[in-house]
Protein backbone atom coordinates (compact mmCIF):
# COMPACT_ATOMS: atom_id res chain seq x y z
CA UNK A 1 0.00 0.00 0.00
CA UNK A 2 2.78 2.35 0.97
CA UNK A 3 4.77 1.71 -2.19
CA UNK A 4 1.65 2.23 -4.25
CA UNK A 5 1.04 5.62 -2.65
CA UNK A 6 4.64 6.62 -3.28
CA UNK A 7 4.36 5.56 -6.92
CA UNK A 8 1.21 7.60 -7.30
CA UNK A 9 3.02 10.65 -6.02
CA UNK A 10 5.73 10.41 -8.68
CA UNK A 11 3.94 12.33 -11.48
CA UNK A 12 3.18 15.19 -9.06
CA UNK A 13 6.76 15.22 -7.83
CA UNK A 14 8.01 15.36 -11.39
CA UNK A 15 5.61 18.19 -12.15
CA UNK A 16 6.83 20.20 -9.16
CA UNK A 17 10.42 19.56 -10.17
CA UNK A 18 9.73 20.58 -13.73
CA UNK A 19 8.13 23.87 -12.72
CA UNK A 20 11.15 24.47 -10.54
CA UNK A 21 13.40 23.85 -13.53
CA UNK A 22 11.37 26.32 -15.57
CA UNK A 23 11.42 28.90 -12.78
CA UNK A 24 15.18 28.66 -12.35
CA UNK A 25 15.95 28.30 -16.05
CA UNK A 26 18.59 31.04 -16.04
CA UNK A 27 20.39 29.33 -13.20
CA UNK A 28 20.22 26.02 -15.01
CA UNK A 29 21.68 27.59 -18.14
CA UNK A 30 24.64 28.82 -16.09
CA UNK A 31 25.18 25.25 -14.88
CA UNK A 32 25.09 24.06 -18.48
CA UNK A 33 27.56 26.71 -19.61
CA UNK A 34 29.81 25.73 -16.74
CA UNK A 35 30.31 22.41 -18.51
CA UNK A 36 33.15 23.96 -20.46
CA UNK A 37 35.65 21.20 -19.86
CA UNK A 38 34.69 18.93 -22.80
CA UNK A 39 34.83 21.92 -25.14
CA UNK A 40 38.23 22.99 -23.85
CA UNK A 41 39.49 19.43 -24.18
CA UNK A 42 38.06 19.36 -27.70
CA UNK A 43 40.13 22.42 -28.63
CA UNK A 44 43.19 20.96 -26.99
CA UNK A 45 42.97 17.60 -28.71
CA UNK A 46 42.12 19.02 -32.14
CA UNK A 47 45.21 21.25 -31.87
CA UNK A 48 47.29 18.25 -30.87
CA UNK A 49 45.90 16.13 -33.70
CA UNK A 50 46.48 18.84 -36.29
CA UNK A 51 50.10 17.93 -36.95
CA UNK A 52 49.43 14.21 -37.16
CA UNK A 53 46.59 11.98 -35.93
CA UNK A 54 46.88 10.61 -32.40
CA UNK A 55 47.11 6.83 -32.39
CA UNK A 56 45.12 5.07 -29.67
CA UNK A 57 45.93 1.77 -27.99
CA UNK A 58 43.57 -0.09 -30.28
CA UNK A 59 45.36 1.33 -33.33
CA UNK A 60 42.54 3.75 -34.12
CA UNK A 61 43.67 7.01 -35.69
CA UNK A 62 42.18 10.00 -33.89
CA UNK A 63 42.05 12.98 -36.24
CA UNK A 64 40.54 16.38 -35.47
CA UNK A 65 37.08 15.28 -36.60
CA UNK A 66 37.08 12.22 -34.37
CA UNK A 67 37.87 14.40 -31.36
CA UNK A 68 35.13 16.87 -32.26
CA UNK A 69 32.60 14.03 -32.46
CA UNK A 70 33.85 12.50 -29.23
CA UNK A 71 33.81 15.63 -27.08
CA UNK A 72 30.50 16.97 -28.37
CA UNK A 73 29.05 13.59 -27.42
CA UNK A 74 30.71 13.88 -24.01
CA UNK A 75 29.04 17.26 -23.56
CA UNK A 76 25.62 15.80 -24.39
CA UNK A 77 26.03 12.74 -22.17
CA UNK A 78 27.30 14.84 -19.26
CA UNK A 79 24.13 16.94 -19.38
CA UNK A 80 21.86 13.92 -19.46
CA UNK A 81 23.47 11.91 -16.66
CA UNK A 82 24.01 14.73 -14.21
CA UNK A 83 22.79 14.64 -10.63
CA UNK A 84 23.52 16.96 -7.74
CA UNK A 85 21.83 15.26 -4.82
CA UNK A 86 25.07 15.19 -2.77
CA UNK A 87 25.04 18.99 -2.46
CA UNK A 88 21.30 19.07 -1.76
CA UNK A 89 21.51 16.41 0.94
CA UNK A 90 24.55 18.02 2.51
CA UNK A 91 22.80 21.40 2.55
CA UNK A 92 19.54 20.08 3.98
CA UNK A 93 21.27 18.03 6.67
CA UNK A 94 23.31 21.02 7.82
CA UNK A 95 20.39 23.43 7.76
CA UNK A 96 17.98 20.99 9.35
CA UNK A 97 15.70 21.32 6.35
CA UNK A 98 15.70 17.58 5.88
CA UNK A 99 13.01 17.33 8.59
CA UNK A 100 10.47 18.55 6.08
CA UNK A 101 11.24 15.72 3.71
CA UNK A 102 11.15 13.17 6.50
CA UNK A 103 7.61 14.17 7.35
CA UNK A 104 6.34 13.16 3.94
CA UNK A 105 5.06 9.61 3.64
CA UNK A 106 7.66 8.48 1.16
CA UNK A 107 11.36 7.69 1.01
CA UNK A 108 13.32 10.98 0.89
CA UNK A 109 15.74 9.51 -1.65
CA UNK A 110 12.81 9.09 -4.03
CA UNK A 111 11.93 12.77 -3.75
CA UNK A 112 15.57 13.74 -4.39
CA UNK A 113 15.61 11.44 -7.41
CA UNK A 114 12.46 12.96 -8.86
CA UNK A 115 13.60 16.55 -8.37
CA UNK A 116 16.89 15.71 -10.14
CA UNK A 117 15.16 13.82 -12.93
CA UNK A 118 12.62 16.60 -13.49
CA UNK A 119 15.40 18.82 -14.85
CA UNK A 120 16.14 16.34 -17.62
CA UNK A 121 13.61 17.59 -20.21
CA UNK A 122 15.06 21.11 -19.96
CA UNK A 123 18.58 19.78 -20.11
CA UNK A 124 17.72 17.64 -23.11
CA UNK A 125 16.36 20.71 -24.90
CA UNK A 126 19.64 22.52 -24.20
CA UNK A 127 21.63 19.66 -25.73
CA UNK A 128 19.55 19.70 -28.93
CA UNK A 129 21.61 22.42 -30.67
CA UNK A 130 24.79 20.54 -29.81
CA UNK A 131 23.21 17.39 -31.18
CA UNK A 132 22.34 19.24 -34.38
CA UNK A 133 25.89 20.53 -34.81
CA UNK A 134 27.18 17.04 -34.17
CA UNK A 135 24.92 15.47 -36.79
CA UNK A 136 25.61 18.16 -39.39
CA UNK A 137 29.38 18.22 -39.06
CA UNK A 138 30.38 14.73 -37.98
CA UNK A 139 27.55 12.48 -39.10
CA UNK A 140 29.96 9.99 -40.66
CA UNK A 141 31.63 9.43 -37.31
CA UNK A 142 28.44 8.57 -35.44
CA UNK A 143 27.34 4.97 -35.30
CA UNK A 144 25.06 3.91 -38.15
CA UNK A 145 23.81 0.76 -36.42
CA UNK A 146 20.28 1.21 -35.17
CA UNK A 147 20.74 -1.57 -32.60
CA UNK A 148 23.44 0.52 -30.95
CA UNK A 149 21.08 3.50 -30.80
CA UNK A 150 18.60 1.23 -29.01
CA UNK A 151 21.22 0.42 -26.38
CA UNK A 152 22.17 4.09 -25.97
CA UNK A 153 19.20 5.13 -23.76
CA UNK A 154 19.87 2.06 -21.60
CA UNK A 155 23.46 3.15 -21.16
CA UNK A 156 22.31 6.67 -20.31
CA UNK A 157 19.90 5.41 -17.66
CA UNK A 158 22.60 3.19 -16.19
CA UNK A 159 25.01 6.14 -16.16
CA UNK A 160 22.48 8.33 -14.45
CA UNK A 161 21.75 5.66 -11.83
CA UNK A 162 25.45 5.40 -10.97
CA UNK A 163 25.80 9.19 -10.79
CA UNK A 164 22.68 9.74 -8.71
CA UNK A 165 23.24 6.97 -6.19
CA UNK A 166 26.90 7.86 -5.80
CA UNK A 167 25.60 11.32 -4.98
CA UNK A 168 23.21 9.90 -2.40
CA UNK A 169 25.97 7.78 -0.86
CA UNK A 170 28.36 10.72 -0.55
CA UNK A 171 25.56 13.03 0.55
CA UNK A 172 24.62 10.53 3.29
CA UNK A 173 28.14 10.83 4.64
CA UNK A 174 27.17 14.29 5.85
CA UNK A 175 25.23 12.55 8.63
CA UNK A 176 28.57 11.32 9.91
CA UNK A 177 31.18 13.91 8.96
CA UNK A 178 31.33 17.63 8.31
CA UNK A 179 33.25 17.62 5.06
CA UNK A 180 31.29 15.29 2.82
CA UNK A 181 31.47 17.87 0.04
CA UNK A 182 35.24 17.51 0.12
CA UNK A 183 34.80 13.80 -0.44
CA UNK A 184 32.61 14.73 -3.40
CA UNK A 185 35.55 16.77 -4.71
CA UNK A 186 37.78 13.71 -4.53
CA UNK A 187 35.15 11.59 -6.26
CA UNK A 188 34.83 14.22 -8.99
CA UNK A 189 38.58 14.38 -9.51
CA UNK A 190 38.67 10.62 -10.05
CA UNK A 191 35.59 10.88 -12.23
CA UNK A 192 37.25 13.44 -14.51
CA UNK A 193 40.27 11.23 -15.09
CA UNK A 194 38.70 7.79 -15.38
CA UNK A 195 35.36 8.50 -17.05
CA UNK A 196 36.63 9.52 -20.46
CA UNK A 197 35.65 13.11 -19.72
CA UNK A 198 39.08 14.60 -20.45
CA UNK A 199 40.26 12.18 -23.12
CA UNK A 200 39.04 9.03 -24.81
CA UNK A 201 40.03 6.12 -22.58
CA UNK A 202 41.61 4.50 -25.60
CA UNK A 203 44.45 6.98 -25.30
CA UNK A 204 45.24 5.77 -21.79
CA UNK A 205 48.25 3.52 -21.23
CA UNK A 206 47.24 -0.13 -20.98
CA UNK A 207 47.37 -0.50 -17.17
CA UNK A 208 45.28 2.60 -16.53
CA UNK A 209 42.76 1.39 -19.06
CA UNK A 210 42.36 -1.86 -17.15
CA UNK A 211 41.88 0.12 -13.95
CA UNK A 212 39.21 2.20 -15.69
CA UNK A 213 37.37 -0.98 -16.72
CA UNK A 214 36.88 -1.91 -13.09
CA UNK A 215 36.01 1.53 -11.74
CA UNK A 216 32.47 2.91 -12.00
CA UNK A 217 33.41 6.15 -13.75
CA UNK A 218 33.74 4.99 -17.33
CA UNK A 219 30.21 3.61 -17.19
CA UNK A 220 28.94 7.12 -16.43
CA UNK A 221 30.36 8.91 -19.49
CA UNK A 222 32.61 6.64 -21.52
CA UNK A 223 30.16 3.87 -22.33
CA UNK A 224 27.30 6.03 -23.71
CA UNK A 225 29.77 8.18 -25.64
CA UNK A 226 31.56 5.19 -27.15
CA UNK A 227 28.19 3.81 -28.21
CA UNK A 228 27.26 7.08 -29.94
CA UNK A 229 30.56 7.48 -31.72
CA UNK A 230 30.56 3.96 -33.07
CA UNK A 231 33.49 2.63 -31.08
CA UNK A 232 31.44 -0.28 -29.78
CA UNK A 233 29.48 -2.95 -31.55
CA UNK A 234 26.40 -4.49 -29.96
CA UNK A 235 28.36 -7.63 -29.00
CA UNK A 236 31.11 -5.59 -27.38
CA UNK A 237 28.65 -3.32 -25.62
CA UNK A 238 26.51 -5.97 -23.90
CA UNK A 239 29.13 -7.16 -21.36
CA UNK A 240 29.95 -3.52 -20.63
CA UNK A 241 26.29 -2.75 -20.04
CA UNK A 242 26.15 -5.72 -17.66
CA UNK A 243 29.04 -4.23 -15.70
CA UNK A 244 27.39 -0.84 -15.75
CA UNK A 245 24.19 -2.17 -14.22
CA UNK A 246 26.17 -4.17 -11.68
CA UNK A 247 27.78 -0.92 -10.57
CA UNK A 248 24.41 0.80 -10.54
CA UNK A 249 23.02 -1.98 -8.33
CA UNK A 250 25.99 -1.76 -5.96
CA UNK A 251 25.55 1.99 -5.71
CA UNK A 252 21.84 1.65 -4.93
CA UNK A 253 22.50 -0.86 -2.14
CA UNK A 254 25.47 1.04 -0.68
CA UNK A 255 23.73 4.41 -0.75
CA UNK A 256 20.51 3.14 0.81
CA UNK A 257 22.43 1.37 3.57
CA UNK A 258 24.43 4.52 4.27
CA UNK A 259 21.27 6.59 4.24
CA UNK A 260 19.51 4.25 6.64
CA UNK A 261 22.28 4.16 9.20
CA UNK A 262 22.84 7.91 8.82
CA UNK A 263 19.25 9.03 9.19
CA UNK A 264 19.17 7.53 12.71
CA UNK A 265 21.78 10.07 13.74
CA UNK A 266 19.83 12.99 12.32
CA UNK A 267 18.25 15.13 15.00
CA UNK A 268 17.53 18.60 13.75
CA UNK A 269 15.01 20.15 16.03
CA UNK A 270 14.73 23.82 15.45
CA UNK A 271 17.32 23.67 12.64
Amino acid sequence: MKTFAALRAIPTLLKIGFSEAVAYRAEMLVWVFATTMPLIMMMLWTTVAEASPVVGQGGKQWGSGAFVAYFLSVFIVRQLISAWAAWEINFEVRQGMLSMRLLRPMHPVLSFAMSNLAYMPMRAVVTLPVFAILLVTELSRMTAQWQVWLLWPLALIGGWLITFFANVAIGSLSFFIDSSIKIMDVWLAAFFVFSGYLFPLELFPEWLRIAAQWLPFRYQIGLPVELMTGQLTVEAALPLLARQYTWAGLMVVASLLLWRSGIKRFQAFGG
Binding site: A26, E27, V30, W31, F33, A34, T35, T36, M37, I40, M41, M43, L44, W45, T47, V48, A49, E50, A51, S52, V54, V55, S179, K182, D185, V186, A189, A190, F192, V193, L198, F199, L203, F204, P205
Partner: protein, 264 residues
Protein backbone atom coordinates in the same frame (compact mmCIF):
# COMPACT_ATOMS: atom_id res chain seq x y z
CA UNK B 1 47.31 53.18 5.25
CA UNK B 2 48.78 51.80 8.48
CA UNK B 3 45.22 51.42 9.70
CA UNK B 4 44.42 49.15 6.77
CA UNK B 5 47.62 47.17 7.31
CA UNK B 6 46.61 46.67 10.95
CA UNK B 7 43.16 45.61 9.84
CA UNK B 8 44.64 43.13 7.41
CA UNK B 9 46.80 41.74 10.20
CA UNK B 10 43.74 41.36 12.39
CA UNK B 11 41.71 39.63 9.68
CA UNK B 12 44.61 37.27 8.98
CA UNK B 13 44.84 36.46 12.66
CA UNK B 14 41.17 35.50 12.92
CA UNK B 15 41.58 33.27 9.86
CA UNK B 16 44.67 31.72 11.44
CA UNK B 17 42.74 31.04 14.64
CA UNK B 18 39.95 29.49 12.64
CA UNK B 19 42.41 27.33 10.74
CA UNK B 20 44.01 26.22 14.00
CA UNK B 21 40.57 25.31 15.29
CA UNK B 22 40.03 22.89 12.42
CA UNK B 23 43.45 21.26 12.38
CA UNK B 24 42.10 18.06 10.94
CA UNK B 25 41.13 20.04 7.85
CA UNK B 26 44.82 20.47 7.12
CA UNK B 27 45.16 16.78 6.38
CA UNK B 28 41.96 16.71 4.37
CA UNK B 29 43.04 19.74 2.35
CA UNK B 30 46.52 18.35 1.84
CA UNK B 31 45.16 15.03 0.62
CA UNK B 32 42.67 16.71 -1.70
CA UNK B 33 45.34 19.08 -2.95
CA UNK B 34 47.62 16.14 -3.84
CA UNK B 35 44.73 14.39 -5.55
CA UNK B 36 43.77 17.45 -7.59
CA UNK B 37 47.39 17.94 -8.57
CA UNK B 38 47.51 14.39 -9.81
CA UNK B 39 44.40 14.92 -11.90
CA UNK B 40 45.81 18.17 -13.26
CA UNK B 41 48.93 16.35 -14.40
CA UNK B 42 47.44 13.10 -15.73
CA UNK B 43 45.98 14.69 -18.91
CA UNK B 44 49.48 15.92 -19.77
CA UNK B 45 50.82 12.41 -19.45
CA UNK B 46 48.12 11.27 -21.85
CA UNK B 47 48.78 14.08 -24.33
CA UNK B 48 52.52 13.37 -24.28
CA UNK B 49 52.02 9.68 -23.50
CA UNK B 50 53.99 8.13 -26.29
CA UNK B 51 57.03 9.16 -28.29
CA UNK B 52 54.92 9.20 -31.43
CA UNK B 53 52.36 11.63 -30.09
CA UNK B 54 52.99 15.15 -31.34
CA UNK B 55 51.88 16.95 -28.17
CA UNK B 56 50.96 20.62 -27.98
CA UNK B 57 52.64 22.57 -30.79
CA UNK B 58 55.57 24.63 -29.51
CA UNK B 59 55.57 23.11 -26.03
CA UNK B 60 57.64 20.17 -24.86
CA UNK B 61 56.37 17.98 -22.03
CA UNK B 62 58.49 19.77 -19.42
CA UNK B 63 57.46 23.19 -20.67
CA UNK B 64 53.76 22.33 -20.58
CA UNK B 65 54.32 21.02 -17.06
CA UNK B 66 55.61 24.48 -16.04
CA UNK B 67 52.26 25.93 -17.14
CA UNK B 68 50.44 23.31 -15.06
CA UNK B 69 52.56 24.19 -12.02
CA UNK B 70 51.69 27.87 -12.47
CA UNK B 71 48.04 26.84 -12.69
CA UNK B 72 48.20 24.82 -9.45
CA UNK B 73 49.85 27.74 -7.68
CA UNK B 74 47.24 30.24 -8.83
CA UNK B 75 44.41 27.88 -8.04
CA UNK B 76 45.75 27.80 -4.50
CA UNK B 77 45.69 31.60 -4.39
CA UNK B 78 42.17 31.64 -5.78
CA UNK B 79 40.80 28.99 -3.41
CA UNK B 80 42.72 30.17 -0.38
CA UNK B 81 42.66 33.95 -0.52
CA UNK B 82 40.11 35.17 -3.05
CA UNK B 83 37.20 32.72 -3.11
CA UNK B 84 36.35 32.49 0.61
CA UNK B 85 36.03 36.22 1.19
CA UNK B 86 33.98 36.84 -1.88
CA UNK B 87 31.78 33.83 -1.27
CA UNK B 88 30.99 35.51 2.03
CA UNK B 89 29.83 38.65 0.17
CA UNK B 90 27.42 36.62 -1.90
CA UNK B 91 25.91 35.20 1.29
CA UNK B 92 25.76 38.71 2.79
CA UNK B 93 23.92 40.04 -0.25
CA UNK B 94 21.43 37.21 -0.25
CA UNK B 95 20.70 37.45 3.46
CA UNK B 96 20.81 41.24 3.57
CA UNK B 97 23.55 41.25 6.20
CA UNK B 98 25.88 43.26 4.00
CA UNK B 99 24.48 46.30 5.81
CA UNK B 100 26.60 45.45 8.83
CA UNK B 101 29.74 45.50 6.68
CA UNK B 102 28.76 48.76 5.02
CA UNK B 103 28.20 50.41 8.39
CA UNK B 104 31.75 49.79 9.52
CA UNK B 105 34.12 52.74 9.22
CA UNK B 106 36.42 51.20 6.62
CA UNK B 107 36.32 50.53 2.90
CA UNK B 108 33.70 47.85 2.26
CA UNK B 109 35.59 46.22 -0.61
CA UNK B 110 38.64 45.89 1.60
CA UNK B 111 36.64 44.46 4.47
CA UNK B 112 34.80 41.83 2.47
CA UNK B 113 37.77 40.70 0.46
CA UNK B 114 39.96 40.17 3.51
CA UNK B 115 37.25 38.72 5.70
CA UNK B 116 38.29 35.13 5.34
CA UNK B 117 41.38 33.20 4.22
CA UNK B 118 41.64 29.44 3.96
CA UNK B 119 45.15 29.20 5.27
CA UNK B 120 45.51 25.45 4.82
CA UNK B 121 45.45 26.03 1.09
CA UNK B 122 49.08 27.14 1.32
CA UNK B 123 49.67 23.45 0.81
CA UNK B 124 49.26 24.05 -2.92
CA UNK B 125 52.58 25.92 -2.72
CA UNK B 126 54.10 22.56 -1.87
CA UNK B 127 52.35 20.63 -4.63
CA UNK B 128 53.09 23.26 -7.27
CA UNK B 129 56.70 23.29 -6.01
CA UNK B 130 56.90 19.54 -6.65
CA UNK B 131 55.48 19.96 -10.17
CA UNK B 132 57.90 22.84 -10.87
CA UNK B 133 60.72 20.58 -9.71
CA UNK B 134 59.72 17.73 -12.00
CA UNK B 135 59.19 20.13 -14.90
CA UNK B 136 62.61 21.74 -14.70
CA UNK B 137 64.21 18.35 -14.15
CA UNK B 138 62.61 17.30 -17.46
CA UNK B 139 63.82 20.42 -19.22
CA UNK B 140 67.31 19.85 -17.89
CA UNK B 141 68.14 23.28 -16.48
CA UNK B 142 66.53 25.64 -14.00
CA UNK B 143 65.07 29.08 -14.74
CA UNK B 144 67.26 32.19 -14.74
CA UNK B 145 67.12 34.69 -11.87
CA UNK B 146 65.60 37.30 -14.17
CA UNK B 147 63.04 34.74 -15.29
CA UNK B 148 62.03 33.97 -11.71
CA UNK B 149 61.71 37.67 -10.86
CA UNK B 150 59.58 38.36 -13.95
CA UNK B 151 57.41 35.36 -13.14
CA UNK B 152 56.88 36.65 -9.60
CA UNK B 153 55.78 40.01 -10.97
CA UNK B 154 53.41 38.21 -13.33
CA UNK B 155 51.99 36.13 -10.49
CA UNK B 156 51.19 39.36 -8.68
CA UNK B 157 49.56 40.62 -11.89
CA UNK B 158 47.61 37.37 -12.17
CA UNK B 159 46.38 37.65 -8.58
CA UNK B 160 45.26 41.20 -9.23
CA UNK B 161 43.45 40.07 -12.38
CA UNK B 162 41.74 37.15 -10.65
CA UNK B 163 40.70 39.42 -7.83
CA UNK B 164 39.30 42.05 -10.22
CA UNK B 165 37.37 39.43 -12.17
CA UNK B 166 35.93 38.26 -8.89
CA UNK B 167 34.89 41.77 -7.93
CA UNK B 168 33.07 42.00 -11.26
CA UNK B 169 31.23 38.76 -10.53
CA UNK B 170 30.26 40.03 -7.08
CA UNK B 171 28.97 43.21 -8.66
CA UNK B 172 26.71 40.97 -10.72
CA UNK B 173 25.46 39.46 -7.47
CA UNK B 174 23.91 42.81 -6.56
CA UNK B 175 21.74 42.54 -9.63
CA UNK B 176 20.86 38.87 -9.88
CA UNK B 177 21.21 37.81 -6.21
CA UNK B 178 21.43 34.09 -6.88
CA UNK B 179 24.92 33.71 -8.20
CA UNK B 180 26.33 30.76 -6.28
CA UNK B 181 26.78 29.11 -9.57
CA UNK B 182 28.37 32.13 -11.27
CA UNK B 183 31.32 31.43 -9.00
CA UNK B 184 31.22 27.84 -10.16
CA UNK B 185 31.07 28.99 -13.78
CA UNK B 186 34.14 31.11 -13.21
CA UNK B 187 36.09 28.26 -11.60
CA UNK B 188 35.27 26.01 -14.51
CA UNK B 189 36.43 28.62 -17.01
CA UNK B 190 39.59 29.12 -14.95
CA UNK B 191 40.26 25.41 -15.50
CA UNK B 192 41.21 26.24 -19.08
CA UNK B 193 44.29 28.03 -17.69
CA UNK B 194 46.00 24.73 -17.05
CA UNK B 195 46.92 24.48 -20.74
CA UNK B 196 49.38 26.65 -22.67
CA UNK B 197 47.34 29.32 -24.43
CA UNK B 198 48.62 28.19 -27.85
CA UNK B 199 46.01 25.43 -27.58
CA UNK B 200 43.35 28.01 -28.32
CA UNK B 201 42.78 29.57 -31.72
CA UNK B 202 40.98 32.52 -33.20
CA UNK B 203 38.15 34.03 -31.21
CA UNK B 204 38.74 31.75 -28.22
CA UNK B 205 42.37 32.85 -28.04
CA UNK B 206 41.29 36.48 -28.15
CA UNK B 207 38.73 35.81 -25.41
CA UNK B 208 41.27 34.14 -23.12
CA UNK B 209 43.87 36.86 -23.68
CA UNK B 210 41.81 40.04 -23.43
CA UNK B 211 38.37 39.33 -21.96
CA UNK B 212 39.18 36.70 -19.36
CA UNK B 213 42.96 36.94 -19.51
CA UNK B 214 43.85 33.36 -18.62
CA UNK B 215 46.90 33.51 -20.88
CA UNK B 216 48.34 36.32 -18.77
CA UNK B 217 47.81 34.29 -15.61
CA UNK B 218 49.57 31.02 -16.37
CA UNK B 219 51.09 30.97 -19.85
CA UNK B 220 52.97 34.26 -19.53
CA UNK B 221 54.57 33.43 -16.14
CA UNK B 222 55.58 30.05 -17.55
CA UNK B 223 57.13 31.72 -20.58
CA UNK B 224 58.95 34.09 -18.26
CA UNK B 225 60.37 31.15 -16.32
CA UNK B 226 61.40 29.52 -19.60
CA UNK B 227 63.10 32.81 -20.58
CA UNK B 228 61.12 33.48 -23.73
CA UNK B 229 58.68 36.20 -22.73
CA UNK B 230 58.94 39.37 -24.82
CA UNK B 231 59.56 42.44 -22.59
CA UNK B 232 56.70 44.24 -24.32
CA UNK B 233 54.28 41.48 -23.25
CA UNK B 234 55.31 41.97 -19.65
CA UNK B 235 54.78 45.73 -19.79
CA UNK B 236 51.37 45.45 -21.47
CA UNK B 237 50.28 42.73 -19.02
CA UNK B 238 51.06 44.97 -16.06
CA UNK B 239 49.36 47.94 -17.70
CA UNK B 240 46.34 45.87 -18.67
CA UNK B 241 45.95 44.45 -15.18
CA UNK B 242 45.89 47.91 -13.63
CA UNK B 243 43.29 49.13 -16.11
CA UNK B 244 41.25 46.01 -15.37
CA UNK B 245 41.50 46.59 -11.62
CA UNK B 246 40.51 50.23 -11.96
CA UNK B 247 37.46 49.34 -14.04
CA UNK B 248 36.46 46.63 -11.55
CA UNK B 249 36.78 49.10 -8.67
CA UNK B 250 34.54 51.64 -10.45
CA UNK B 251 31.92 49.01 -11.20
CA UNK B 252 32.01 47.83 -7.58
CA UNK B 253 31.45 51.39 -6.33
CA UNK B 254 28.57 51.83 -8.75
CA UNK B 255 26.85 48.60 -7.80
CA UNK B 256 27.29 49.15 -4.10
CA UNK B 257 25.65 52.53 -4.68
CA UNK B 258 22.64 50.67 -6.02
CA UNK B 259 22.52 48.19 -3.14
CA UNK B 260 19.13 48.37 -1.48
CA UNK B 261 19.54 45.68 1.19
CA UNK B 262 17.24 42.69 1.59
CA UNK B 263 13.59 43.27 0.91
CA UNK B 264 14.43 46.44 -0.98
Amino acid sequence: MTRYLRLLGLQLRTSALLAAQYRFDFFVDAAISLFWTATAVVPLFVVYGEETRPGIPGWSFGEALVVTACFILLQGVLDGAINPGLQAVIDHIRKGTLDFVLLKPADAQFLVSTSRFMLWRVFSLVTSGIVFGIAFHQIGHGPSVLGVLTALVLFAVATLLLYSLWILIISAAFIVVKVDNLTYLFSSIFDAARWPSSVFRGAVKFFFTFVIPLAVMTTFPAEALLGRLAPMTLVSSIGGAFVFAAVARRIWLRSIGHYTSAGG
